[in-house]
Symmetry: none
Subunit: 227 residues, 2 copies
Amino acid sequence: MSPAGSTRWCPTPQQLMMLDEMYRSGIRTPNATQIQQITSQLSLYGKIEGKNVFYWFQNHKARDRQKLRKKLTRQLQHQQQLYHHHQLLHYLDSPTASPAFRHLPYYNSTSSLNLFPQAGIHDEAAKQVMNYAWKFDIPERVDKNTGMMRTYGCDWLMMVDVGPSSSPCYPMISRPPLKTLELFPLTASNLKEECNDNINSTDSSVSLSSVSCNITGTAAKITLSIP
Amino acid sequence: MSPAGSTRWCPTPQQLMMLDEMYRSGIRTPNATQIQQITSQLSLYGKIEGKNVFYWFQNHKARDRQKLRKKLTRQLQHQQQLYHHHQLLHYLDSPTASPAFRHLPYYNSTSSLNLFPQAGIHDEAAKQVMNYAWKFDIPERVDKNTGMMRTYGCDWLMMVDVGPSSSPCYPMISRPPLKTLELFPLTASNLKEECNDNINSTDSSVSLSSVSCNITGTAAKITLSIP
DNA sequence: GCAAATTAATGATTTATTCAAG
DNA sequence: CTTGAATAAATCATTAATTTGC
């Protein structure tokens, strides 16, 4: 019962086609006037109101982005897993690796994928965790602009770039070498439903209960807690 | 001297493309981990460091916003002109129009051919203009869900839908009939530097110092102040 | 074939975040 | 630092696809 007692709008194929065309032509967030114009034009092909047009663009845009993000996330995660695998093997094989770590179980990614549950649904929550380690490494401007340290100075430390061109180009799986042990992602940004896709995939890496870092003056103290 | 003695990063086209795709997919302020991932991925296509990625997103976001603001400004002015034109025609055709106005020239409508001038590639545009009058017109749920009025109840009123399918389709420049006088976009925020662009354009219109609307219960009071 | 049951899409609402003006 | 405006994200809810058992 599309037309009569229906509680929600049911776009006709022609309406859908036109909306889609408008979207593809670049329209994303039409203003009130545009909505009215679109509405009156589409009303030729069936019952429609302005709010339908508004919601359609909202939803379409959101779901479009969602799809793109999923794609990107999968890509990044894949790369990351490969990298971690690579890194861990390297670490365990290394003669300098502490024996204390050798017994650590590989974590089952189904249970510990989300290391920091408080860094939740919105990736903006990850802002607290944000720290651009290379900010300690930026040439002149950092020292001048002390404001940059204000926000991030006492925050989590995750990794430090080794620097510009000295990084050799690893094939695919690679990323630039790090000065310190690179930890895996602390934030679960953008990975809510996306994570569920991959809960069956196995991943060999170490699970930490917490990672903290405090920077005072020039000294940095890093704490790793192992459950 | 792009690679060697260059002091600043020179993104390759492929790097730019990928950055752009990530931006379009919603990434705005990547965290350290993301930056590292992105950096290592992009390093496949040329020299790059984390700070380049960071700065790129910072700058791209800022400049995107700036562009949007400019576009919005232009659109606001355009709409105002359209409105004034429309209003003026209506006024001049009306038998009650003061003869004092009849000599005013119509403005050249060739400039208003593009229905959706702001609908560009990145058109999160027209944020300030958004006001969906149909929110006052939603059937049952509004009355039940008084929460919807909470947010918008005392807001500016610009126009009111005549309703769904009853709106005839005007050719091109048209818009659906209005129950009340349609006002043009009221807010001029975000228009600091952008406003200076067009101070030379002439416009024959009446200027209002303020337009306010207060809705209490079912009564609406509209105030127009003329300086 | 064909409905009841189940799942996937998508329209409509609500909530959280961002941005910037005061 | 607070707050208003405006999304964008998350969520709810209904419709359409589809699967399934007969």
